[in-house]
Amino acid sequence: MTAEAALGTTTATSAADAAAGSGTGMILSARAVTKRFGGLVAVRAVDFEIPRGSIVSLIGPNGAGKTTFFNIIAGLTEPTEGVIEFQEATIVARPVRAWAEPILWFALPAVTAVIAALALLAGISAVADVLVGLTAVVLVGSLLIAVIRPRWYLNLLPRFGIFRSARPNDIVTFGIGRTFQNIRLFANMTSLENVLVGMHSRMHATLPDAALRLRRHRDEERTSRVKAREWLAYVGLKGRDDIAARNLPYGDQRRLEIARALASEPKLLLLDEPTAGMNPVETTQMTALIGKIRTELGITILLIEHDMRVVMGVSDRVTVLDHGEKIAEGTPEVVRADPKVIEAYLGAPTA
């Protein structure tokens, strides 16, 4: 029941996932997540869990902090407090010992600089010259590593007790995909190209492969295009491959965003107001698509929604945020009747 099974292909991550098993059954768990922007608290101590294979909705009045919460999960903002775990691995958290990083960068150059200084004092100028040059090279190298942050460097940090949240592109590789509240398609690229970009993290041909047009590159491009077309057909955009994204009708643009997110073969899909601006017919279609994604592809879905029909119709569970705090959580029926929720949306009853 995975994306791979549906499309008949495999990726490197699926084996690891299968081996990881289901653990506590929670694909994502957030603990005490808080986000402060200067004096404003956008998200306040939110605890949140998403069971694997479920559809969870996050609702609340405008400005409740829902999209901020999404952005934290997706790695676009670092939380001021709290931890988010995905498939039992911490992916996002308040930076720990961030101050120690610069020490790491300058440690080695500092050492060579000191030795160079000693050599200078001792009068061995030839060695000193070499060491000064070495210091410069090591310094530049360290700074480059600081900027580029390659995978091996990121894996090294925990050994020093340093934690930095994963960057958005790494979070995609881990298996979280997302759409945006205000559609952010690549406007001047075609539908097909948009989906191909979505597949970026799952393609492995290297630069030399592409430059020399080796078999690995050609085959991967061919299969990718086939897969991309399949994703487009899956969301209902069959035959619209070559239309520039900005020329698609609104409803199709939303579908394209979903196809693009699906293309990264996520385990968890974050949908930010997928039915915003849609008429009832389109809304019903979108709701069906969301259900289909969970049932056929086994993808867990976290939904931000304002349309209560969608929320009630498709969610297994609903969480309500207001002014950054979780005020209710439970099945759709329970939440709907909760007086705190009603008050948040409609205001307190006048005495």
Binding site: V172, F180, M189, T190, A211, I243
Partner: protein, 397 residues
């Protein structure tokens, strides 16, 4: 759901078919183009009125110099046109390539590494500097990025000028070795008096570079560049490592510039810091913008045309106007003697006018890629169902 067209499909004309074929097989198109340039261009130099401007040898020498700028423009196109990173200091890598050759093939360090190897060395050094100078710019937005790269473009020549012990300062490094073909095709050392070996070499370098660049453009990396240009945040959210992608753009652009630098140094025989100022960066940028950003072939053509106008066209225009004997015009302290206008003095005025005019009237350049034209005319309502010749058939290139 499918939008079936009710308009009957047009039968493609022969020209359309040739275009489609070459569109689908970029490498062949480039090789064919290179062959045309090699064989046909020198012949055109023998025809009037071109024959009146100079001997074929002069022309061919000029073509080689044009080739340097074609390389620069094509490389800058990767940074500015494809990845959308406004680099105003591109000459820095040109200088680095040239000085690398100077270090490797002159009496200065007493090294005499062959030109062909230096091409690779120079490219590698320039690539490294591309990463180095690109790294600080990664978090900067468009305008600031431009200014920082401009700053680097100024710093590099200043450093070269002042670090006398390492670079010989204003006097530069002289006595650069010339390439040698080691007897292939009957050619040994290239020599200053024979322009043909240089011409063939630069066409070869340009050809290989363009083929490689086209292939990169039609790959995962090329799409990543376009995605970053469109919406960097969304691109990162789709799994693109914006840091490495941008650094690759800088690095690859720098490599091309480095190649140009090595070739240029070997042809000139001497390198001095004043050869690598803002005018070079600006000229390359003008060529990219006027030629058609994002379209490698368009940029190459534009670069060639602009270079020829600059080196020969303006002089000829001046001679033509001189023969017309026009009157003198005086505006206060500014006196303009139209009859004796030396158009070469005005070339930057013309550049400036051309650029301003272009940006106002046709910002996508003379030969834009379809995507770029679409980007820059967002207010038009054309349904751009552009065919995926640029995408689908790319697999076979």
């Amino acid at each position: 759901m499918t939008a079936t067209s009710t308009v009957p499909p047009r039968r493609p004309s022969p020209i359309g078919r040739i275009r489609a074929f070459f569109g689908g097989h970029q490498s062949l198109a480039i090789i064919a183009g290179a062959a045309v340039v090699l064989l046909v261009l020198p012949q055109i130099a023998l025809l009037p009125p071109f024959s009146g401007f100079g001997t074929q040898k002069d022309w061919v020498g000029g073509f080689s110099n044009a080739g340097v700028f074609v390389l620069l423009a094509v490389g800058l196109n990767v940074v500015v046109g494809l990845a959308g990173l406004l680099d105003l200091g591109y000459a820095a890598f040109f200088a680095i390539g040239a000085y690398t050759y100077a270090y490797g093939a002159s009496p200065f360090l007493n090294l005499h590494i062959p030109f062909w190897i230096m091409l690779i060395v120079g490219a590698a050094v320039a690539a490294a500097f591309g990463i180095l100078l690109g790294a600080p710019t990664l978090r900067l937005r468009g305008d600031y990025l431009a200014i920082v790269t401009l700053g680097f473009g100024e710093i590099v020549p200043v450093v070269i000028l002042n670090a006398n012990n390492y670079t010989n300062g204003t006097n530069g490094i002289t006595g650069l070795a010339q390439p040698s073909a080691y007897g292939l095709f009957g050619v040994d050392g290239f020599g200053f008096s024979n322009p043909w070996p240089y011409f063939v070499t630069v066409v070869g370098i340009v050809m290989v570079t363009m083929i490689l660049l086209y292939r990169l453009q039609d790959s995962r990396l090329g799409r990543a560049w376009v995605a970053i240009r469109e919406d960097e945040l969304a691109a990162a959210s789709m799994g693109i490592n914006t840091v490495t992608t941008k650094l690759l753009a800088f690095s690859i652009g720098a490599t091309t510039s480095g190649l140009a630098g090595v070739f240029y140094a070997s042809k000139l025989g001497v390198v001095t810091p004043d050869q690598f100022g803002f005018t070079v960066s600006f000229t390359a940028l003008a060529m990219v913008v006027l030629g058609g950003m994002g379209n490698t072939l368009g940029v190459a053509a534009g670069a060639f045309v602009i270079y020829e106008i600059q080196s020969t066209g303006l002089k000829q225009l001046g001679q033509v106007v001189q023969s017309l004997h026009l009157p003198v015009v005086a505006l206060g302290p500014i006196k303009v003697d139209i009859g004796s206008i030396n158009f070469i003095n005005y070339q930057y005025l013309l550049y400036g006018l051309a650029l301003v005019g272009m940006m106002l009237l046709r910002p996508e350049g003379l030969f834009p890629s379809r995507r770029r034209r679409q980007e820059l005319h967002e207010d038009t309502d054309e349904v751009a169902e552009f065919k995926s010749a640029e995408t689908l058939e790319a697999i076979d290139r």
